[in-house]
């Protein structure tokens, strides 16, 4: 097992819903509600889920931009203190982020060189001349030319701007890059260029990635390990190959079956599990399993008790009373619908 870079334990991020007299909280949105997540050195970890599942909030908590309600995050064994400026400053050298939309992520009034040099200046790295040289190196690293430093963002296409954003994120030699939907805003013909670049950079610089995405085809291509998130909870986690080949949680299964394959013949022969309804509001989550309102396999126990993450095989865990029963507790309901029987994957 390789060395752990980041360890998150029982992380919770709750947002107050203000209202009532004097703006007191009248309720809580449980954006992230008890998440354990590890990232090893050089590993690509993908966080998948639909809008509102808490994946971006979780990314923000790792960056130090969002203070957790409870739980811990440690980086290289040292805990991150979200209240302490010094701790966050040290963290920002090691953890950087690439956002979805490169157009809004770059200041249009700064030259590309100024944007890339900004983190260096903030952290007092080198003098002006050294910084300029570093900017040139970084631009070459992402497939642009040092001469591009003098231009402003509007001189570049979307794909090139995303390269610039990546160069800026790499300026301080971070160990972990958070990639929040890094190709979703790009033209389809440009996406593969950026994905190839990110894979290449990872090998050359031995980077770890936290890849936040709703695009499962991209995640399949990119990730070593996958965390499937639903309504603030981890529904399933495991090696990417295992999760994609044998999804355990009915949500993972539905999510995978919902992605249309770019292959009409294969697509006609697939059985799509169409989930009923929408994601429940995170301010009023179901009492038991978060997925119970849409789950085709739901049992009485699912409405009452939140399922814990249970190992279903080596390094593959799922939180489901039916498919991944805890020894003892849910054994009876597991027998009602054994995984792989007729009900398995039946469209509703």
């Amino acid at each position: 097992m390789s060395e752990t870079l980041l360890a998150m334990r029982n992380l919770k991020v709750h947002f107050p819903i203000r209202g009532g007299l004097f703006g007191r909280p009248v309720g809580w949105i449980r954006a992230v509600d008890g998440v354990d997540l590890d990232i090893a050195v050089g590993q690509s970890v993908a966080l998948v889920g639909e809008s509102g599942c808490g994946k971006s909030t979780l990314g923000a908590a790792i960056l130090g931009m969002q203070r957790p309600t409870s739980g811990t995050i440690s980086f290289e064994g040292k805990p991150i203190f979200h209240g302490e400026a010094e701790s966050l400053r040290a963290l920002s050298r090691d953890v950087q982020i690439v956002f979805q939309d490169p157009v809004s992520a770059l200041n249009p009034k700064l030259t590309v060189g100024e944007s890339i040099a900004e983190p260096l200046a903030i952290h007092g790295v080198g003098n002006a001349k050294q910084r300029k040289q570093r900017v040139g190196e970084l631009l070459k690293l992402v497939g642009l030319q040092p001469g591009h430093a003098a231009r402003r963002p509007n001189a570049f296409s979307g794909g090139q701007r995303q390269r610039i954003v990546i160069a800026r994120a790499l300026a301080l030699n971070p160990k972990l890059l958070i990639l929040d939907e890094p190709v979703s805003a790009l033209d389809v013909s440009i996406r593969s260029q950026i994905l190839n670049l990110l894979l290449d950079l990872q090998q050359r610089l031995h980077l770890s990635y936290l890849f936040i995405s709703h695009d499962l085809s991209v995640v399949r291509h990119f990730a070593d390990r996958v965390f499937v998130m639903y309504l603030g909870h981890i529904a399933e986690t495991g090696k990417a190959g295992d999760v994609f080949a044998t999804p355990i949680h009915p949500y993972t299964e539905a999510l995978l079956s919902a992605v249309p394959l770019p292959d009409p013949a294969a697509q006609r022969n697939r059985r799509r599990i169409v989930l009923k309804g929408d994601l429940p509001s995170p301010s009023n989550p179901p009492k038991g399993c978060a997925f119970v309102t849409r789950c085709p396999l739901a049992q009485p126990i699912c409405r009452e008790v939140p399922p814990p993450l249970v190992a279903v095989s080596d390094d593959h865990q799922a939180a489901c009373h039916v498919r991944a029963p805890q020894s003892g507790i849910a054994a009876s309901s597991a027998q009602v619908i054994p995984a792989g029987s007729g009900k398995h994957g039946e469209p509703i």
Partner: protein, 324 residues
Amino acid sequence: MSRNVLTVEDLKVTIHGQPVVDGVGFHVAEGEILSVVGESGCGKSMTAFAVMGLLPAVARLESGSIRLGDVDLTTLAEKKRRKLRGDDIAMIFQEPVASLNPLMKVGRQIEESLIVHRNLDSAETRRVAIAMLEEVGIPEPALRFEQYPFELSGGMCQRAMIAMALICRPKLLIADEPTTALDVTIQAQILELMKRLRDTTGTTILLITHDMGVVADMADRVAVMYAGRIIEEAPVDAIFTRQEHPYARLLLSTIPRLDGTPKTVLPTIEGTVPDIGEWPAGCRFNPRCPLADRQCVERHPPLAPRADAGAAACWHSDKVGAML
């Protein structure tokens, strides 16, 4: 062969004199789903707006014909055209939440087409609208009828839009990126709904998208657009099996796939999509094309029949198969 509901010929649209749609022609048969695929700026949405007669004020329809059945829409008086819009042709848009009027109850927005196009009494209008909401799979339709768009989720708003579009049983439904703004499980619901409606009502659908997965799932026939032109057009199985235009071939090969080999280097298309007004001479894909030669720079290739079915616009279509 069933008759064509929509026939577009040599359509040209300009914005401030710059062409955005440049000689596009296609037809859609009754009950067929034609998917128009392409990247941003290729002119696919402008083509849809031209058919709908909703081009933005800066855009100009320069030439070409758009026929709905036997009626040429381009020469029709605006008053008559308005009669068709929402009745015979309807459209659903990418952003369901932004496309609904936030100040008007959902039910009232769905009734609007009925009030304009059908002469029903108010009780009957309401009954038909609620039945439509139920048909598109909105639970508690009578309750939703009385609600405002903000009280509905994104998927529900898209269903309401579809209900609005289909209320007068149009012959042609134009869907412009109908699921792009939605999550994948909600996308699955909406795609199933559109297919079911096509199967039960025989609605013809012009589906505009950039997602090859959605195309493979939905389309009977596909037209690929690049820089204002259709560069390849064929039945869905044919075009996914074999492409005769390098752009279509590369576009399909660059997409990471659920059933692909992870972590491999993906094929790329060099360069970027040219901006409107900066389209190169000759074949517009030539600066990015690995097969380009002098002929491609000098002369624009016409759409020529493919070996099987459909057509492609490439001087070197016989070499495309061996490209990768």
